[in-house]
């Protein structure tokens, strides 16, 4: 007895197949990719009695032709992996239509079961099904289930095991292809007589596919058949003969024969309700797809999506961030403590890694909500409606109606994230539009670009904050659309396109389990796939920033400054009892004590928390505490003052060293090397370094600028705005505008680049996706800066001019008509 079975689930979209898959395998699932294509391969397993059953959930398809990758992987799996059972899941309320696929599965002559799912829906619609008769006609086991309610699960388990153990299996029913039968038999005969490797494949299926004109099967015949070319020549002759004799396209004749057979089978075992009600979904669509209401509903949905995930999700991070900070604290406690001015490399490295990972993990609440809401939209059936409403606008720019969701996620207004945006491109059926969408999404305004915008707008456009923010929020869309048009008419020109034709499925109420399950699964995928790579690349950036490091000569200088400060401090407290308390290594202990106390005190909210904190620190070291909180004690206050001064000096030295390290680092050198090019865009080397470091994560731009524009003396207020304004005298609003524009077009961050690689399935596109925005960004920034300077425009004027240019380009490119993709002449010849 076989103790392992392989099962494939096949079925049309919206037939409840994933419900069946979940019911069978529970949580024991995982996702992989089919080789060579970007189609997800969902698989899972369960144990029934002694038998372990592996289940592969094939993509939902209407048919099994060679035209789409989903259909190809489905039939290749059945053909090559030869599952012990194919479970064909059908929507019981729509049997007639589902049979179209069923017949195609049957023709592949693999053992199979029909699973009539959604029996409850059928009953509600007044459809009655004679299951016995259906079994008899088709000669295939039929199991009726309502998996949402868990009904029929055991029967399905039993049927799978029974069918899987049988040695031979033949579906009785065959579609009658009428006048084409003779042609099919003729080809069958040729295939059977071939002495090559064709006998492993069902001959009749091959013959039907050849009559349909299936390119993949033609290739198979050519490669595996000894007489391959000869067979194909004969097939061409037969096809032409059929088309001439019956004045009908063979592929159409095959499809029509299948529908006719489906009609016949359905008529034999179905009783349909006498009168048809206007379906509920259509009544909903009267509003949701309405000329005026439709766009309003769409806007409301998008707003809600932003509000719940970005705004509320961001609020949630207030609760999760302390957890991540705690994790960082654990790591910090494990690595060696920093010295007075020298931080051990290992500690710096560990914390850098931790910070890089935390920066990503911090987004998890946002992603969880986002993925959950997407699942709701997918399950409810709103997605196709969204595509329906937006297709006209997007298709003008080479995009697709289904680019809507990815673009919303990527940040069509301010505040998205390119990672889920790129990930959700999977659903776009048309390869050209899909690649275009993947490539343009990083140009939208993700959350991480915002800090730089806010910084620059606050300094240089302080009088026109609202206007500048509106400009930056909408300009990205005006850049994205013409760029997409450009890409789809140039580099992506030869990528295959697919018809838009799509079903508007009935609305469904999503289940809580389904939604949460999918959200969790996608968050987990995100963590697994992205985090590991971010860690790897964070290492690279760390090296670029840390090495070669400060020169030995300068190190000695810094050490001298340190020694001087410490000696000064010791002298100032020499005659107090605290000299003993802080003797030798104890001084460094105090520094760390003070640091951790200060950090914790900043987080403590309310007087009670502060009291508790004080008590805790008093207990750790009462003498240190009296320096930290001297109260009214005069001596202690004096020591406190001196200590604070020393602490400030230390901080200054550390900052100075960090700055110098960045200056001399590889990244700093790169920044300088780029200056000759970037000067026309108005970027000096500091800005270059900030932009280079932003590649790891865009938030880094502001952090690096912060490190580069350190305050040198003790005076002045500490805000980065004022520091930057002060240190960059020559920096004008025009500089700032060029910089912001570059940030809009900035190449995708690491995580997004990885997502681009995963979704486009190629490193080549990932590299292209990094390269072209850089060129575009530098060009736009140069245009603004150099052009603006030559014309004598100020920042605001340049902003207006550039905006008008972008708007003009967008409108103009929208009017450029591309030739219809479905050229009847070309198609007729083919």
């Amino acid at each position: 007895m076989k103790d392992r079975l392989l099962v494939a689930l096949a079925g049309q979209p919206n037939c409840g197949k994933s419900t069946v898959f979940n019911a069978l395998t529970g949580a024991k699932q995982h996702v992989a990719n089919y080789p060579g294509v970007t189609v997800d391969k969902m698989s899972g397993w369960y144990k029934y009695g002694e038998t372990r059953v592996d289940v592969v959930d094939l993509p939902g398809t209407y048919s099994l032709t060679f035209y789409s990758p989903e259909e190809r992987v489905s039939r290749d799996f059945i053909l090559n992996d030869k599952p012990d059972v194919v479970v064909n899941v059908m929507d019981a309320s729509n049997i007639k239509r589902c049979l179209y696929l069923t017949f195609q599965v049957m023709e592949m002559e693999n053992p199979m079961i029909l699973n009539l799912n959604m029996m409850d829906v059928a009953q509600n619609r007044g459809v009655t099904i004679d299951i016995e008769k259906l079994t008899r006609i088709l000669g295939v086991p039929v199991v009726a289930t309502s998996m949402k309610q868990g009904l029929g699960k055991t029967e399905l388990f039993d049927a799978i095991t029974d069918t899987g153990r049988k040695k031979s299996f033949h579906a009785r029913f065959k579609v009658d292809y009428g006048p084409m039968e003779a042609f099919i038999n003729n080809i069958c005969e040729m295939i059977r007589q071939d002495t090559g490797d064709l006998e492993a494949y069902p001959a009749r299926w091959l013959a039907i596919k050849l009559m349909e004109g299936d390119e993949e099967i033609r290739k198979l015949i050519r490669e595996k058949g000894v007489q391959g070319t000869k067979i194909l020549d004969r097939v061409d002759g037969l096809k032409n003969q059929f088309e001439a004799e019956y004045d009908q396209n063979t592929a159409l004749a095959v499809a029509q024969a299948r529908y006719a057979a489906a009609d016949k089978v359905a008529a034999g075992c179905l009783t349909l309700p006498a009168e048809k009600k206007k379906p509920m979904s259509d009544r909903i669509d009267a509003v949701v797809c309405h000329k005026f209401m439709g766009p309003i509903v769409l806007l409301a949905v998008i707003w809600l999506l932003y509000y719940l995930s970005i705004v509320q999700g961001y609020n949630l991070t207030n609760y999760t961030w302390p957890l991540l900070a705690k994790l960082r604290g654990v790591v910090a406690a494990m690595v060696p403590d920093p010295g007075f001015i020298d931080v051990p490399l290992i500690s710096a490295f560990a914390l850098w890694l931790m910070d890089s990972v935390n920066a990503l993990l911090n987004y998890i609440p946002i992603f969880f909500i986002l993925f959950g809401l997407i699942a709701v939209m997918e399950d409810s059936g709103y997605m196709p409606r969204m595509a329906f409403i937006m297709d006209r606008l997007f298709s003008r720019y080479g995009l697709h109606g289904q680019s809507t969701l990815p673009m919303v996620l990527g940040g069509i207004y301010v505040g998205g994230c390119a990672v889920p945006g790129v990930m959700s491109c999977k659903g776009i059926p048309d390869e050209r539009s899909r690649l275009a969408t993947i490539l343009i999404i990083p140009m939208l305004n993700c959350l991480a670009k915002v800090p730089l915008y806010v910084l620059l707008i606050n300094i240089y456009f302080a009088a026109h904050k609202g206007l500048a923010m509106f400009y930056i929020s909408t300009i990205s869309l005006l850049m994205v659309l013409p760029v997409s048009k450009f890409l789809t008419t140039t580099v992506l020109k030869d990528k295959p396109i697919s018809p838009f034709v799509m079903e508007m499925p009935p609305y469904h109420l999503p289940t809580f389990r389904g939604v949460v399950g999918r959200a969790l699964e996608r968050v987990w995928m995100f963590i697994k796939k992205i985090t590991s790579i971010v860690v790897a690349l964070a290492v690279v950036i760390f090296i670029l920033l840390q090495f070669p490091g400060i020169s030995p000569q300068r190190k000695i200088d810094f050490q001298a400054q340190r020694d001087k400060a410490i000696t000064q401090f010791r002298n100032s407290i020499a005659h107090t009892p605290y000299a003993e308390v802080l003797a030798g290594a104890k001084l460094m202990e105090m520094v760390l004590y003070w640091e951790s106390y200060k950090d914790k005190k900043m987080l403590a909210k309310g007087p009670e928390a502060t009291d508790a904190l004080n008590a805790k620190y008093r207990k750790i070291n009462p003498q240190f505490f009296s320096i930290a909180q001297p109260g009214k004690d005069k001596v202690a206050r004096k020591v406190n003052k001196s200590f604070k001064k020393l602490f400030k000096t230390r901080k200054g030295l550390l900052r100075e060293m960090r700055k110098e390290r960045i200056n001399t680092s590889f990244l700093g050198k790169m920044g300088r090397a780029l200056e000759p090019v970037t000067q026309f865009a108005g970027f000096n080397w500091r800005v270059n370094v900030a932009l280079l470091s932003a590649f790891a994560a865009k938030e880094s731009a502001v952090a690096t600028l912060g490190a580069l524009y350190e305050q040198n003396d003790d005076g002045g207020d500490g805000s980065l705005e004022s520091r930057m304004a002060k240190s960059e005298d020559g920096f004008t609003p025009l500089h700032a505008l060029a910089l912001m524009m570059f940030m809009v077009l900035y190449p995708p961050c690491l995580a997004t680049s990885i997502a681009v690689k995963l979704q486009s399935g190629s490193v080549k596109w990932m590299l292209f996706g990094m390269f072209y925005p850089m060129v575009l960004g530098i060009s736009a920034a140069t245009l603004i800066f150099t052009g603006g300077t030559l014309l004598g425009l100020n920042g605001l004027q340049a902003m207006g001019v550039f905006y008008a240019m972008a708007l003009g380009t967008t409108i103009a490119t929208g009017f450029i008509k591309t030739k219809s993709e479905f050229d009847p002449v070309r198609q007729a010849i083919a």
Partner: protein, 74 residues
């Protein structure tokens, strides 16, 4: 006439599909083939694509694709 010429509320009988390969196959796989009656339900807010009802199913397609479906108005 062809399907793209029908207005919302119109219905017609499919006479012929004048396209093959990818689009032709897709139309057939979605249940659009000669002999069936279809109703144009609505156009999208920006006029394109259109939504049709065939045998209880709702399908949306671009006008550019609909022009390959020859229909006889009923």
């Amino acid at each position: 006439m062809t399907l793209d010429e029908l207005k919302p509320g119109n219905s017609g009988t499919i006479k012929k599909l004048s396209i093959r390969d990818k689009l032709g196959q897709r139309l057939m796989d979605m249940g659009i083939y000669p002999g069936l009656i279809l109703n144009v339900v609505r156009n999208a807010p920006l006029e394109d694509p259109m939504e049709v009802e065939i045998d209880g199913y709702f399908i949306s397609l671009r006008h550019d694709e609909a022009r390959f479906i020859e229909v006889e108005r009923r």
